[in-house]
């Protein structure tokens, strides 16, 4: 029964996501067949949970199996009908990949060895995730606990009983309920609360972000470098460890990478119509990004919007987008964002929920925090979290600064630097320094940026200025 529940529980949102993505692509599909299914899974989960959230908060439903399935069916029928009406005018996929050169025997051996090792580590992570009892704080105090609360109460319960007659009305309940709702949804379908079942989606999210990176790099460079980039991401120790635990940072990383990669692709493509599609997909991703974690709203979304504006400006200057296309894209993305952001903000204000990570960010004093800089230095360069990622990234940005800042790679460069420069001062100058000094939040913030950082490394290393694009 748990396996059936898992298949249905993952399958239905994926179908919903597929329809959403395909309807966003419209008459210019830009994703490959398999990539679209991965994107559908990634975004469909969030979109479906958002629909459940709106349904419950609107008073139309409780979190029962019948209500879940009814709403999901309505979504499928609605989106499916719309898709069937418009698809007859749409062409089939036309995805351009970088031409591959045949792999040498040495490269095949390297890829085989690294690939096998990666698969072994993923299997290991899956075993740790699914077979282990709850162990980490945020699992049994936040993500899984809230999911169980919703499962038992069948509603979006915000008041959490801590124990010892202590209750919390805000705290972790200020986080978007997406990840806990996924667990509620699966448990409701299965009819029981099973740790392995409700934790299993996390390993799929990890695999999804690896695949998203692979598909993106495959469009920019050869199969060999796409594999190397994917391996690079999978080999980051702290990123791999998150695959083995039911935390939400890989989930956020998946959404963030999709948005940034779409913005990059809008500039990189030679097809003017495809640029519009990529921008619309970025809008869809950014809208759903809001509903992942609080820092997505505070940190990632503003950066995404800024880059979106830059992309629009660049495409308009190059004559790729007409005024009408710009207006249409801006309206489309604004509506998509408003559809998620407005209900979520209204919900937060109505329940007086903070906007920080389980704590308020307003009213913080600004002052140098002793020990924070040393903690960041050690955590980034002298622990087992990142291997050589940061030295390599910094080295490439410095030595290939023209490519980093004055080529198309600047999209990723800008995003990475914006997010690093947004987070690090918070640790150096505010009370959030405890997250750095105690190492409770520092590396996890970087986990959300890991796909962008690894991708930027590959792009900068393979970038050929004379061709104005990465190649082998």
């Amino acid at each position: 029964m748990n396996i059936v529940a898992f298949v249905i529980g993952m399958g239905i949102p994926t179908l919903i996501g597929w329809l959403l993505v395909r309807l966003t692509e419209q008459d210019t599909p830009v994703l490959s067949v398999y990539e679209r299914w991965v994107v559908a899974f990634a975004l469909g989960i969030t979109a479906t949970m958002f629909a459940f959230f709106v349904g419950e908060e609107s008073g139309f439903m409780q979190f029962t199996a019948a209500n879940f399935l009814l709403l999901a069916t309505v979504l499928l029928i609605g989106l499916g009908t719309w898709y069937m009406r418009v698809r007859i005018h749409w062409p089939k996929n036309t995805v351009q990949l970088v031409k591959n050169t045949p792999l040498s025997r040495k490269k095949k051996i390297i890829l085989f060895a690294l690939g096998s090792w990666t698969i072994l580590k993923i299997c290991n992570a899956a075993f740790l995730l699914i077979a282990s009892p709850p162990y980490l704080d945020d699992v049994f105090n936040n993500w899984n606990m809230r999911g169980k609360m919703y499962y038992v109460t069948q509603e979006l319960e915000l008041t959490m009983e801590i124990g010892n007659d202590i209750t919390s009305d805000a705290g972790v309940s200020s986080y978007p309920p997406t990840v806990p709702l996924v667990k509620t949804w699966l448990a409701t379908l299965a009819g029981n609360w099973n740790e392995g079942l409700i934790n299993a989606p996390h390993i799929l999210w990890y695999i999804s972000v690896l695949l998203l990176v692979f598909f993106f790099l495959r469009r920019q460079t050869t199969f060999f470098w796409a594999c190397i980039g994917t391996y690079g991401l999978s080999s980051l120790p702290i990123f791999t460890l998150h695959a083995a635990h039911a935390y939400a940072d890989v989930f956020v990383a998946m959404h963030v990478f999709f948005v940034v990669s779409c913005l990059y692709s809008s500039i990189a493509t030679d097809n003017d119509a495809a640029s519009v599609t990529w921008l619309r997909l970025a809008g869809l991703g950014a809208a759903l990004l809001v509903f992942t974690k609080n820092e997505a709203l505070l940190l990632h979304l503003p950066a995404c919007i800024l880059l979106f504006i830059v992309c629009i400006y660049a495409l308009q200057k190059q004559g790729v987008l007409s005024r009408r296309e710009i207006q249409s894209t801006v309206v489309h993305n604004s509506i998509a964002l408003a559809c998620v952001l407005v209900p979520w903000l209204l919900f937060k204000w109505a329940h007086d929920l903070p906007f920080g990570n389980a704590k308020s960010v307003s009213g913080m004093d600004i002052a140098w925090q002793a020990g924070a800089a040393k903690a960041i230095w050690i955590n980034t360069f002298f622990e087992g979290n990142w291997i050589l990622l940061f030295p390599i990234l910094i080295g490439l940005i410095v030595t290939r600064w023209r490519s980093a800042f004055f080529s198309i790679c600047c999209i990723f460069t800008a995003y990475v630097l914006m997010l690093l420069l947004a987070q690090i001062p918070l640790y150096l100058f505010t009370g959030l320094s405890t997250e750095a000094i105690k190492q409770t939040g520092l590396a996890r913030g970087f986990v959300q940026l890991a796909p962008e950082m690894v991708t930027l490394v590959i792009l900068l290393y393979t970038y050929k200025p004379e061709l104005d694009k990465p190649t082998e």
């Binding site: 072994l120 080999s235 087992g384 190492q439 590396a443």
Partner: protein
């Protein structure tokens, strides 16, 4: 060039010298001939020669005991064979030629024991330590009663230390609650005791092995620059180091699974333990159906974290609470975990230090002394 680069990296991280755990040891046997060994002590230190060693009992005030060291090999570790009827904190002291100053080690906690116990003290952790001290000894507080049977002064030569360094890079941390926030990664240790005690303290007392990586990169960069080689070779060096580091960390992750399998997945309920939580997860699973018809239950444990949140997760919607503010007379079910001070008296009441905690009731299940399910008759 590529072959020599690969060989250099391989030597540092893969080659293992044959001498495993070889050490040079000087033994001070205190079971006989103590008076001839040149020990110096305060007048208020009572020293009694016994068959098990020299018994040390400070009288009226703290006391010190030391002797001159005439050893040619370097001293890295002290292996102390001791016994003491009660747990006591002493300090090791030493002096060396350079500073000529007494230095006190961080306290050494000696656990109570009836038989001889061995504690290994890693002197090299401390900045003031000199590998060739002129004298060694101990500081003992008033009230101490320690019998020292033997002292082994252990040292390793540079080749042995290099071997320990390479082996130490493959010494893994256990998965901990902090692992999701950071991983210590490979550390540098220079003898087996340092390796064994690597993660006993937070942060570890050893430096990160990332220094080796950066050093290798630095040497490689200088070599390539001086020999005017292609910088592509530097990228190759980075790639090799990256893969080696990945193998090291991947092996650590596999060790997590191996440890879990050994202690948890392959064991029966009742004997299995899960990491540092022992059998608490199983206890919480057993408790959940017992409390399911109760809004709240009393939960008493040695430490609030992580047990309160964890049992609350298992038993939700039944919520754990404390026994104070009249709760003991309202909620009948008690879950007690690792509180050996709480027992049931002849009237069926839970008591601790002669203080009555609960109304009379009955023990539903005992996991071990101090961990049980109790139901009060309300």
């Amino acid at each position: 060039m590529r072959r020599s680069l690969l060989s250099l990296v391989g030597f540092f991280f893969i080659a293992l010298p044959v001498a495993a755990d070889a050490e040079t040891v000087t033994t001070w046997d205190l079971t006989e001939g103590f008076a001839q060994q040149g020990w110096q002590a305060n007048t208020n230190l009572q020293m009694t020669q016994t068959a098990n060693g020299i018994r040390l009992q400070p009288q009226q005030a703290e006391a010190t005991l030391r002797r001159t060291v005439n050893i040619t090999h370097n001293i890295d570790v002290l292996r102390l064979y001791y016994s003491t009827p009660k747990e006591i904190e002493i300090k090791a002291l030493w002096s060396n030629l350079e500073s000529g100053v007494n230095s006190y080690l961080s306290p050494i906690l000696l656990e109570a024991t009836t038989n001889t116990k061995i504690i290994e003290i890693d002197y090299t952790r401390f900045e003031t330590w000199h590998a060739h001290p002129t004298s060694l000894g101990f500081w003992l507080p008033l009230g101490a009663d320690v019998t020292i049977e033997k002292m082994e002064l252990v040292g390793w030569n540079p080749i042995e230390k290099l071997g320990a360094l390479v082996r130490g890079l493959w010494h893994f941390d256990n998965i901990q609650p902090y692992s999701v926030n950071f991983l210590w990664g490979p550390r540098m240790s220079f003898h087996p005791v340092q390796t064994k005690q690597m993660f006993w303290t937070q942060p570890p007392g050893t430096k990160s092995a990332n220094w080796l990586m950066y050093g290798t990169l630095g040497i490689g960069a200088v070599y390539i620059w001086l020999r005017k080689k292609r910088w592509h070779n530097f990228a190759l060096l980075i790639a090799c180091l990256w893969v080696l580091y990945d193998v090291r960390m991947g092996a650590e992750f596999l060790s997590y699974t191996y440890d879990d399998y050994q202690t948890y997945h392959s064991q029966e309920v009742g004997t299995r333990t899960f990491r540092d939580r022992r059998y608490f997860n199983d206890l919480a699973s057993v408790v959940a159906p017992v409390v399911q018809n109760h809004d709240k239950f009393i939960f008493v444990t040695e430490n609030r974290w992580p047990y309160l949140g964890l049992i609350r997760y298992y038993t939700y919607p039944s919520i754990p609470t404390h026994p104070f503010d009249g709760n003991a007379n309202v909620y009948p079910i008690w879950i007690v975990y690792r509180r050996p001070d709480i027992t049931m008296n002849s009237q069926g009441q839970l008591v601790s230090s002669q203080q009555i905690l609960s109304p009379p009731g009955q023990m539903l299940h005992e996991f071990e002394p101090g961990s049980f399910i109790f139901q009060a008759k309300l």
